[in-house]
Every structure is written in C-alpha cells, then in structure tokens.
C-alpha cells in the first residue's frame, strides 16, 4: 500500500520509550538506582532512614543551584559565580538579621542582592558582549570579597529576634518528616521544568542555545533573555544560600567555596550540554543526586575520602562518554 504524504508527515518517529532510552538522564537515573540497591546490601548504614534523610537534604543545595545553572547552560553560557553569590546572599541575610531586622527583611535583602549580581553579570554578557566565563569568574572573586567586607570576615551565628524562625525554615521538616530543603528543591524543580517545557521564555532559551543568530533573526529578544537567565542563576544561588543558612545555623565566608564546579558537574552529568541547547530540570536533580550518592557511599564503604574527587570526576567523564558513543552511532 502506498504511503501518502500526509501519513508520512503525521508519523511519529520516536516513541516515548525510544526517547527515554536515548536520554543520558535516564541512564544516570539507572546508575543512581543501581548504586542505591548495591549500597543497601553492601552496608548496614545506607538504607537507614537517618542516612537517606541526610542524603536527600545534602543533595538539595547543589541541586537548587543546578536548576538555575541549567537555564544558563542551555543558552550556551556558564556561571562560575554561583558559589560566591550563595555565600554573599547568606551573609547579607545573616548580617541583616543580626542587626535586629526581621526574617522577611533579611530574605528580601538577600534576594535583591542576588538579583542585582545576576543582572550585572547578564548586562555585561548580553549588552557589552563580555564572555560569560570571564564575567562570572570576576564575579566569583568580587562576591566572596563583598561577603568578607559585609561580615568583616567573622562567623555569624546569631540572627536577631527571628533566629528560631530562620532555623526552622532551613532545618525543619514540616511535611511528612521530609526535610524542608527537599521540599523547596522539589517545588523549584517543578517550576523550572514547567518554564522550560511550557513557556515561550523556555522555548526561546533553547533557541538561543541552539543558534543565537537564528534566534535574533526570527525576533527572539535574545539580550533580555540572556540577562534574565543570569538573574535566575544568581537567584537560585541566593535561595540555596538562605536555606543553607537556616540549616547550618551559622555563616562563614568560605560557605559555597568550589560549589560552582559541583553544580556544573551535576548539570552535565544530568545531560545538559555545555555547548548549549540541551538540558532539563530533572537532569540537574539526578546529576546532583548521583554526586551525593557517590560521596555518601565512599564514606560508608570505608574508602578514604581523598578518593572522592576521582570518583566524581570519573562520573562526569562516564556521563559524557555515553553521550559521545550515542553521537558516534548517529553520525555513522
């Protein structure tokens, strides 16, 4: 029977399953599940509710920042300043509350600081054409220095009249005994996923990462969107900073040092492409989870902590290796 043109056009080439099997995120999920099953049998401590509570909570800080980073990476950019912005936001919150202001004002000041830094990064990158790597590298240095200036490089552990509220916000477990940071992470992941898949803004972010020139020619407001993604990235770092402050109960100026690399690793392991155009919210979470499970398991298995970096680095290379193998096959 002859196939008509309409049938060809209406045909779906990829089923849900074939798309799932070809996604890097799917295989990372499998890796996480296999690792969890193995660890449950290999150690007594892994599958305890206390350990699982710890893992899920530890994942959240990297994961929340990775959600913001995903936006930037999809546009083909990079934000190296997130660790420092997290520290500065934390410090602004701590210093404001320490000075006797309420938690609302503290959070507002902290969020505004993060947004201002993101806007600064974004304007330099989008309107003045600075390379993202350089701008955010500079900001990595500036933001941490500002955090030191704001606190005079001291540890802040007294948060004024709303001290208890802040600790409850970050350290509590309000719903079904799930740690609060995990709830925030889930909510933010759902919002991120929604924006990327269902909004015009999300579509344009992918377009910029795919072909910035084409996006400009077709009337996509490229510059404004670029500023927005760096603001989102900084905002996610700010939110993570606020939650982490509440959880730790103290802020030091080395909070979030080196975090940018973990965050970028999480997004890349989860399937985002540093060249732009590819990335998902779920991938960012899964990538962060894999890193945390590796860290946790090394401890439980009694392997020297110095090996951590080797294993995490190996995971990054493995994840990208899978992607390369798929691409080789496709280009044949």
């Amino acid at each position: 029977m002859a196939v008509t043109l309409d049938q060809t056009i209406a045909q779906k080439q990829h089923t849900f399953l074939s798309r799932m099997f070809s996604s890097q995120t799917f295989w990372v999920v499998i890796a996480v599940i296999l690792a969890c099953i193995f660890l449950s049998f290999a150690t007594d401590a892994f599958a305890t509710s206390k350990n699982l509570y710890n893992i899920t909570r530890n994942v959240t800080f990297v994961a929340i920042v990775a959600l913001g980073m995903t936006f930037v990476i999809i546009t083909g950019g990079i934000d190296l300043s997130v660790g420092s912005v997290l520290c500065l936001s934390s410090m602004v919150l701590a210093v404001t509350m320490h000075a006797g202001y309420s938690i609302e004002i503290g959070i507002l000041a902290s969020i505004l600081t993060a947004l201002a830094i993101g806007a600064f990064n974004g304007v330099l990158i989008a309107y003045l054409g600075f390379p993202p790597f350089v701008v955010t590298l500079g900001m990595l240095s500036i933001a941490r220095s500002l955090a030191m200036v704001a606190s005079n490089n001291t540890v802040v552990f007294q948060f004024g009249p709303d001290h208890q509220k802040l600790l409850a916000l970050g350290g509590g477990a309000w719903v079904f005994g799930i740690a609060n940071p995990v709830l925030y992470m889930i909510i933010l992941a759902l919002i991120t996923g929604f924006i990327l898949r269902w909004t015009k803004f999300g579509r344009h972010i992918f377009a910029i990462g795919g072909n910035e020139h084409a996006a400009t020619l077709t009337g996509v407001p490229v510059k404004q969107i670029k500023v927005a993604v760096y603001m989102i990235s900084a905002l996610s770092a700010g939110i993570a900073g606020i939650i982490q402050t509440g959880w730790l109960g103290a802020v030091t100026t080395n909070l979030g040092t080196g975090m940018e690399l973990q965050v970028i690793a999480a997004t890349v392991i989860g399937g985002a492409n540093l060249a732009g155009g590819v990335g998902t919210a779920f991938g960012a979470i899964v990538g962060a989870a894999l890193i945390e499970v590796i860290r946790n398991s090394l401890g439980l298995l009694g392997i020297n902590a110095f090996w951590q970096g080797t294993f995490i680095g190996g995971a990054i290379l493995m994840a990208v290796l899978f992607d390369r193998i798929r691409n080789f096959r496709r280009s044949d």
């Binding site: 043109l5 309409d6 060809t8 056009i9 209406a10 045909q11 779906k12 080439q13 990829h14 898949r197 269902w198 909004t199 015009k200 579509r203 344009h204 992918f206 377009a207 990462g209 795919g210 072909n211 020139h213 084409a214 996006a215 020619l217 077709t218 009337g219 996509v220 155009g277 590819v278």
Partner: protein
Amino acid sequence: MAVLELTNISKHFGAIQAVNDVSLSIDPGQVVGLMGDNGAGKSTLVKMIAGNFRPSHGTMRLDDRELILHKPAEARQHGIEIVHQDLALCNNLTAAANVYLGRELRRGVGPFRILDYAAMYKRAGQLFAELKSETRPRDLVKQMSGGQRQAVAIARTMLSQAKIVLMDEPTAAISVRQVAEVLNLIRHLRDQGIAVVLISHRMPDVFDVADRVIVMRRGRKVADKKIAASSPEEVTGLITGAIEQAA
C-alpha cells in the same frame, strides 16, 4: 498590478554607491531571479526591501502604498518574509518549533499562557503538506536533509499572509536532488500567488524556476527581461560586463 514597486532607488554608504537608481516592479505569483556578481548590489537591494537598510533616495511601494521600513520586524508585518542564506534554524529544536520560532502559539488566559504544542504541530504539518515536503513536525531539525531544512525555513514564511518571499541563495551548498526539491518549494509558493525574489549565483536554477531575470552590475540594473527572451550566455555576459546593457 504590481505587488512591489521600486522607483529610482539608490543607496550609498559614505562615498560608496552600492545601489544606483534602480527601478523595478514585481507582480503577485511571479518568480524573479536576481543575479549579479559579488558586490553588484543585489544584497543591498534586498536588504532595503527586508528593512535592514533605508534607501538613500527613491521610493518603495507595496500594494500601491508607500513603504517605509525602519527594521526587519516591520517588513514582516507588511508581509515581506525572508529566507536567510543560512536558513536561521535551531538544530536542537523540532521542525514545528523552528517554524514558529519567535511567533509561538499559546493557549490559556491572561498571563497564564502555555505553549500550544498540538496546534503548532498540526499547522506545521499542514504547511509541509502544502509544500509537498516529507517533513515531520516532531522531528529535530538536526536530523534533516538540506531539502527538508529549506522546507522548514520556507514554511516559516507561510505562517502569516506573505506577499513577497525573498530567498537568499537557497540552492547554494546542497545536493542536486535537494536543489530540485527546493525549486519545487518555490513553485508552490508561486502557485499560491506569492511573489518570490530568488537571489542566486546558479544559472540553471534561475532559468528553471524564474519567470523573469534581473541582472545587477556595479550597483545598476543592467537587465530586466523575461526568461524566455534571454539565455544563460546573455546573462553571463551581462553579469561579467562583456555585454554592457541588455537589448
């Protein structure tokens, strides 16, 4: 009646006279081949029609109304669409997403509006069917052939009621079979009453699909005649300057 009419159009950049006193008119459903060597002024001419440049002198009229363009988006609002030489496609998006890039359909109320995937797939599929192109709206552009990529770029021009489609070297750098596909796409546009301006270096393509050929040399229009009344030899001579002016 002409859909587009240019009268005594000139454009200079400082001391350089890129386009010099060019007049021409294009009818609906007509395919016009615009030929000329590099630097002959054809890109500058097209960029004025597309709203990238403003003419230094002369007037443009669209449907007998004066046309003044400040930016490319205005040209699009007037029904002038451009297929860029590099096609301006995003490889990481689906065919439908590329067709609707910058003009995404949404559903919902007020600020709560989400992308209407179903409607975009459906309409993109209809456009590909109109173009008789085997292109699936859900496929990624990354995996497509040169001809399919052209179909995506051309379908984009059919979203709104285009009056004129300007095509910049659509047949450069694609295979022979795909060239035939692209020329068919051009014929389908013509059959719908759309005027097509085909900028090309490839003589066979212009003689295959165009009704008229306009030749530019050093900023001037040196020929504007029916394809049937010309020959590739004559056009070559006009482009190089071996023939000064068309008979």
